[in-house]
């Protein structure tokens, strides 16, 4: 089932729609320091395109520093106008034995489809959230909608490449009961609003994940992080890298997000 | 001194009609009894007709296999004839149910057996008392009668003994006491002296005579014993299931 895990990992690309940024007053009153919520919204836009798109995602899982598993996925994502949530269709491209398998996330339902049996299985919320499966949520595009941000202060910290970055340190508290993490610590680079690091906490207050965003490149008109490193804070030896490439804007028909259509889908 | 006597038909019919307390104790008319032997039907009693007067020592004599025991069984109502009629103590038993016949026996007919046939688990007293329990008598009366009879047979002091503690003669005396305690009209005895020595036998015979007179009881014996036969008052000789001779001693 680790295939599914990785896969679901990827599903984190799903998400809630961003943009409606809440104008939250930061607790730093001076005009020089920006509103925390706006910062979060800006970071959201950096990470994800606002129009329907597709990209290639390469996930590598490392244990004790050595690579253990590698998966290449093609992701199609689209924001739903009515719910303002993202729908995702993911197709396995590599390794060959998993090629053709698909995962559909539409609304809050997740389906796994196996071309060999032509059967699709629903994955319940309980089943999604096991161990590494939640990695994808870290890369969740739009935090501004579900979290209320507070500015903690300005900090300097090392990014994944050991370069010093001057950052705004933000503390995000979950607004929505359906938000995955009850609290997130976020470091965004000053002036560029680029996310550098995130620490994701569970309802119990314990740290679940740490994410580092780097390898910024221009993709689809914006400089975006093309690699995210996710460190599992519970299973300390587990680190996953997600490398995104080949971003393309693409119109995605409604049919692609219907479960019944999956067997006939020839997605590319 | 045996004279053949044929009973004329009219007499026998009259006898049937007037069976009262003074009439014959047993009336037989054309009685037939057969049973299934090894491969063919055996006729044990082949048409017998006679009367037995009351209060007499009657003997049925004849060789072995002549049907004596069968006849006794028929008279004693423990067997039923295939044909003919039997009247005992004035009662025709033909149409009665088994229970009714049994009840009749319990009241009117008593047996004395060659082998004494006492109940081994009961004492002499209890053996003698037994028929009275069947008749449902009160405890007081039962005790009186039982003791009286035990005394009259001279066994009062042996009353607590079990049969296996008594001699042959004593056992037969208990049997007689048992037979008489219910004051039956008829006592049937099949070879009562066969298992006794001659002295004891003669004592038993004497006892029975006494009882016959004291209690007005009719006795019918089936026997080979010459000593017993010498006391016969009525004699019926049976051979091959038929009556061949009849003798009657005058009343003394």
């Amino acid at each position: 089932m680790s295939r599914i895990m990785l896969l679901i990992v990827l599903l984190g690309l799903a998400a809630r729609v961003g943009s409606g940024a809440k104008a939250q007053a930061a607790d730093v009153p001076s005009t020089e320091t920006p509103a925390a919520q706006d910062l979060v919204a800006a970071a959201d836009r950096i990470r994800n395109p606002q129009q329907p798109f597709r990209l290639t995602d390469t996930l590598v899982e490392y244990r004790d520093g050595k690579p253990r598993d590698r998966v290449v996925l093609i992701v199609f994502a689209r924001e739903e106008k009515d719910t303002r949530q993202y729908s995702n269709l993911v197709r396995y491209a590599d390794p060959p034995r998993d090629a053709g398998k698909m995962v559909l996330l539409h609304g809050s339902n997740m389906w796994f489809y196996d071309p060999a049996s032509k059967a699709s299985v629903r994955i319940s919320p309980q089943q999604r959230l096991i161990g590494q499966a939640s990695d994808g949520d870290v890369v969740t595009a739009n935090l501004a909608r579900d979290y209320t941000a507070k500015l903690v202060g300005a900090e300097s910290l090392e990014d994944a490449d050991r370069k010093d970055r001057h950052c705004w340190h933000l503390d995000l508290a979950a607004d929505d009961p359906e938000a995955i993490y009850s609290r997130i610590e976020y470091w965004l680079e000053r002036d560029t609003d680029r996310p550098v690091k995130g620490k994701y906490y569970s309802d119990s207050g314990r740290l679940l994940k740490i994410a580092y965003f780097h390898n910024y490149q221009e993709q689809l008109g914006t400089v975006r992080p093309t690699e995210t490193i996710i460190i599992d804070a519970v299973d300390a030896n587990l680190v996953t890298t997600m490398t995104t490439s080949d971003y393309r804007l693409q119109e995605i028909p409604d049919a692609w997000f219907q479960r019944d259509f999956l067997p006939r889908l020839k997605a590319d | 001194m045996t004279t053949e006597q044929q009973i004329p038909d009219e007499v026998s019919q009259n006898a049937m009609a007037s069976s009262t307390a003074t009439g014959p104790v047993v009336v037989l008319r054309d009685v037939v009894k057969t049973y299934d032997g090894d491969s063919l039907k055996v006729t044990a009693i082949d048409g017998i007709t006679f009367d037995i007067p009351r209060q007499r020592f009657a003997m049925i004599v004849g060789p072995s296999g002549s049907g004596k025991t069968t006849l006794l069984n028929l008279i004693g109502c423990i067997d039923t004839p295939n044909a003919g009629q039997i009247e005992v103590c004035g009662q025709n038993l033909a149409a009665l149910s088994d229970d009714a016949i049994t009840d009749f026996r319990s009241r009117n007919v008593a047996f004395v057996f060659q082998n004494f046939n006492l109940f081994p688990v009961l004492s002499a007293y209890e053996n003698v008392e037994y028929p009275l329990l069947l008749l449902g008598l009160e405890p007081g009366e039962r005790r009186d009668r039982t003791m009286a009879l035990l005394e009259s047979v001279g066994l009062a002091e042996h009353r607590e003994h079990r049969p296996n503690q008594l001699s042959g003669g004593q056992k037969q005396r208990v049997a007689i006491a048992r037979a008489l305690v219910k004051r039956p009209g008829l006592v049937l005895a099949d070879e009562p002296t066969a298992n006794l020595d001659s002295r004891t036998g003669s004592q038993i015979i004497e006892l029975m005579h006494r009882v016959q007179h004291d209690h007005a009881v009719s006795f019918i014996f089936s026997t080979h014993d010459p000593q017993l036969i010498s006391h016969a008052e009525e004699t019926y000789a049976i051979r091959d299931g038929k009556l061949v001779e009849r003798h009657s001693e005058p009343r003394r």
């Binding site: 244990r63 598993d69 590698r70 994944a160 569970s202 299973d235 680190v239 | 057996f113 082998n115």
Partner: protein, 470 residues
């Protein structure tokens, strides 16, 4: 009276044969009574264990019993404290109740990530003080007097982060040594599988990971082993917390032993509900007496209806379906043995009485000649058969009482299925009056019925033939 006297003397006539026959009946009585008392003891013991752990009745949200196992969070009882108060204060229920306590059930992943071991767990959240009290339930007085030691809970109200896990789970998570579990093989080391043509990382991952590993997760709190419990909250979010394991306790069923985790209610609620309302999945009621289950349940139902609460009540036989199955199995076995014994007694008595009838053929003829009716003959032999049965059964009763006494004072122990540790081996001698009377009457009846066949034969004997016998 004469009938009884004659019957008794006739029994004594062939004393050896009568003794054998009565012994057969006695043995039948002993077997049935001792076995019956043993099974009664087992049932009572089983009931006690079940009631200690599961209580008598459980209150759930409507639908939980059928569907809740897959999704406990969806069937929580909101505002459960009020419901508990409602139950405890009810006039009808109050005298029947012994313990009323909330409980939570959940499942997730338990891990000891230091050694990279993880597995699914089934968790139970309880209020320790209530549970300890429940473990002392003893309606049938088999605890202290009976030699059974009540189990120690391993949880306390004042240690909210402590928990108890199954021995199998301890083994899978490699905690045997720390928890003092004997003879435990160490978990296998996973063979390293390298991903084919995967490039090495572009950055030093371990250095990166080490940055935030500060105070965080020290393994163990002064020597007490720690495990991580991961579960999905009711809202669908991943949640994790630490559980400090006090001890490993063997569970009677292997699958449970491999997944069992017990913790304080508050901790379980923290894990299952997270930032949402902390509910209870069930409310467990333990009564003073088991027979109050029916009225208590009826009262609960009407109480819930009255207050428009969408709640469901189940008893322990529904929560532990094997209970009725096991009781039923015992009943079936007992029934089978009863039939076997009955048949043996039947054959023995038929045989004995037939021999008796044959030996007394001449006597039967004599009695009939003397004026005893057929029914009288039949009655005589029936009474003899009956008497053999009565004496045998009574003797059996007396002997079985001695055997029961001996067994109960012999200090024997055994481990029945469903138990994790040996318990005393005893037979129940109180409350079994019905069993004893039924066995006594049953065997007596069987003996009488058995005598019927030979008695009928005796009654129907032709008098003349009977007299011909010597």
């Amino acid at each position: 009276m004469m009938l009884l006297k004659i019957a008794f003397r006739n029994i004594l006539r062939n004393s050896r044969r009568s003794l054998m026959t009565m012994s057969a009946v006695a043995v039948g009585a002993i077997a049935l009574i001792i076995f019956g008392e043993f099974m009664a003891y087992l049932v009572v013991g089983f009931q006690t264990t079940t009631v200690e752990e599961t209580g008598h009745l459980s209150v759930f949200h409507q639908g939980y019993f059928e569907f809740g196992a897959g999704n406990p969070a969806a069937y929580g009882i909101g505002d459960y404290q009020t419901v508990i108060g409602l139950i405890q204060d009810d006039v009808v229920l109050k005298p029947m109740l012994r313990v009323v306590t909330p409980t939570v059930k959940l499942f997730g992943i338990a891990g000891n990530f230091d050694i990279n071991a993880s597995t699914t767990f089934l968790g139970m959240g309880v209020v320790p003080s209530d549970r300890s009290r429940m473990l002392l339930w003893d309606e049938y007085h088999i605890q202290r007097g009976g030699g059974r030691v009540p189990t120690e809970l391993g949880l306390r109200d004042d240690t909210p982060t402590r928990g108890v896990i199954g021995v199998g789970l301890a083994r899978i998570l490699g905690l045997c040594k720390q928890l003092g579990v004997a003879s435990c093989p160490s978990p296998p080391v996973e063979a390293a599988t390298a991903a084919p043509d995967a490039p090495g990382p572009t950055v030093d991952l371990s250095e990166l990971a080490r940055r935030d590993r500060s105070a965080g997760q020290a393994s163990g709190e002064g020597g007490v082993p720690r495990i991580d419990l991961l579960a999905a909250t009711a809202g669908g979010a991943p949640n994790v917390l630490s559980l400090y394991v006090s001890k490993a306790e063997r569970q009677s069923v292997k699958e449970l032993d491999d997944t069992f985790v017990a913790m304080n209610l508050a901790l379980a609620q923290q894990l299952l509900y997270g930032r949402g309302e902390h509910k209870a999945v069930g409310i467990v009621l333990q009564l003073n007496r088991t027979e109050d289950i029916v009225p208590a349940r009826a009262r609960l139902r009407s109480l819930f209806k009255e207050h428009h609460l969408d709640l469901d009540v189940r008893d322990f036989t529904e929560l532990q379906p094997q209970y009725n199955q096991i009781v039923g199995l015992f009943g079936a076995i007992f029934f089978f043995i009863a039939i076997v014994m009955g048949v043996i007694v039947l054959f023995t008595i038929v045989n004995t009485m037939s021999m008796s009838v044959m030996e007394r053929t001449n006597e039967i003829g004599t009695a009939r000649a003397m004026g005893v009716r057929r029914s009288g003959i039949r009655r005589q032999f029936l009474i003899e058969g009956w008497m053999l049965g009565v004496i045998g059964a009574t003797a059996g009763l007396i002997v079985s009482a001695s055997i029961a006494f001996a067994v109960n004072h012999a200090g024997l122990r055994w481990m029945p299925p469903g138990q994790a540790a040996p318990i005393p081996l005893k037979v129940l001698t109180s409350g079994v009056e019905l069993l004893i009377v039924a066995v006594w009457l049953g065997l007596m009846l069987m003996a009488t019925v058995a005598a019927l066949i030979p008695a009928n034969r005796a009654a129907r004997m032709p008098v003349v033939d009977a007299l011909r016998h010597v």
